[in-house]
Symmetry: C2
């Protein structure tokens, strides 16, 4: 799904909701425990229940890998099922490796002929340009690069102040521009040279919404994938206030608050109601 | 495998060689193409051929995920096979996510009851403390944290100069010590508070061996996993000169230079010869 198709779906559904499909065996309702593939049965029910209100779905791969080979089968069924619908699909994988290895990850999660044909993959920036570029070379696919994440540990490195001067390390200077302040801002600036708003998005956590205006100064047009609304405590209103652009430019993710809205046999209805509630909050912001 | 067991194996084999199991269908010799599981057949032959000379094996997960579900089955057979031997096993996964999600990755790759029971997993530091700690909480298992990687893109962010002062971002200050200079050094210092030399190692690329003395000033006792010798051009002698400590403290990884030393039916013998050659180079450094 390309940028204009995504924006069209956002306007049609009047929603920029992304549902995080993070199935946890300890939280999946008992009524599903007899299913042959419990995780897929749960995901399918959640997808069916929320499809009217969500434009994107984001399975976090950890929740599948945790169940070994069986979990990967559930992931494969889930992405196959998602592809029946006109939704944007994100492999929340946070991968990244040296160039020839990142190419393998691109093959794993973005290849239309592969088992896991997603529209986008989340990528960690620490290893730099050659770790990100192979993903950008797959036609019509997206990188969602980590910039400022929603967790407490985001402060350890992402918010470090960096100097404007180039290093003299004998191995070639790190490319600083003199304008940046924090590491996450440098990640935004530097990676802006690798792709554009047609094939890159950024993760910016809702738990730190006040940073969104700084982010928008550097990447005014890119879509931002915003986790942290809901269970992690971020505010949808604040995210919209600081993050919205003239083509919406936001995908707001909710996982636990939708998936586990109900604990019993009515879990799918409860998920649908929570997704509808979020869509109604989003509707006024979609122009 | 704990630290003293690893050191004992290094002294017994007089080797600190780690073989990177990165199977690439385009490079696996034709003589194996009739096997039901080509990747596992290749890995098994490589393991059998190099076992006398290697103390550790490191499958890079990208090379399995690239082949979808089938590739994950090959990975599962490979780790099961490796566990028959007294070798240190590293899932080169470069994972890392918010706390509750990293816990799932730990379950995926470090759980003795799971499909992929490795001794260690490589982790990317960008998301900070809560993304790393869940791995450290699995008894007798290891995190191998990315510090300074061997690829060109390492310069983009890892070598950025950071200031000693704390940031005033309103969300809690980034914890700098005033001693650090580059981001990778800050990663070493900060993560040193999360674990110790019994459950953490660091990735430091051989292509940048001159940085190893800076690394050793910060983490004198930790094991370093050093990729980049061989196909990427790093020098074993330089790595030893700057990186060795009094308990060796190094695992030097070679992947392509061993796996694809031969292209024909003699590939396993060629791999064995290359592993033996590296072991002979290492032998004088093992005390």
């Amino acid at each position: 799904m390309n940028r204009s198709e995504l924006i069209a779906e956002i306007r049609r559904k009047k929603s920029f909701l992304c549902v995080g499909l993070d199935p946890d065996m300890n939280k999946i309702p008992d009524c599903l425990k007899g299913e042959e593939d419990v995780i897929f049965a749960f995901n399918k029910a959640i997808i069916d229940a929320t499809l009217d209100y969500a434009v994107a779905y984001k399975p976090n791969l950890a929740f599948y890998e945790a169940y070994g080979l069986k979990g990967m089968v559930s992931l494969q069924k889930t992405i196959d099922y998602l592809r029946r619908f006109n939704v944007f699909t994100i492999a929340d994988a946070k991968r990244g490796d040296i160039g020839n290895t990142s190419l393998k990850y691109a093959q794993a999660y973005l290849d239309p002929a592969g088992d896991f044909n997603f529209d986008a993959i989340t990528v960690a920036p620490y290893m730099g340009e050659d770790s990100v570029k192979p993903f950008l070379q797959v036609p019509d696919k997206w990188v969602v690069l980590l910039a400022l994440t929603s967790n407490p540990g985001a402060r350890d490195f992402q918010n470090l102040e960096i100097t404007g001067g180039a290093t003299t390390d004998g191995m070639g200077a790190a490319r600083t521009t003199g304008l940046e302040k924090h590491l996450y801002e440098q990640v935004l600036r530097t990676s802006g040279q690798w792709g554009d708003d047609q094939n890159m998005m950024y993760v910016v956590g809702a738990t730190r919404a006040e940073f969104l205006s700084d982010v928008r100064r550097i990447v005014p047009k890119h879509f931002l994938l915003v986790p942290g609304v809901g269970a992690q405590g971020g505010s949808l209103e604040e995210v919209c206030r600081y993050g919205l652009n003239d083509e919406v430019g936001l995908l707001i993710n909710a996982s636990r608050s939708i998936l586990y809205a109900g604990k019993g046999a009515d879990f799918a209805e409860a998920a649908r109601a929570e997704a509808a509630r979020m869509q109604q909050q989003m509707q006024p912001y979609v122009r």
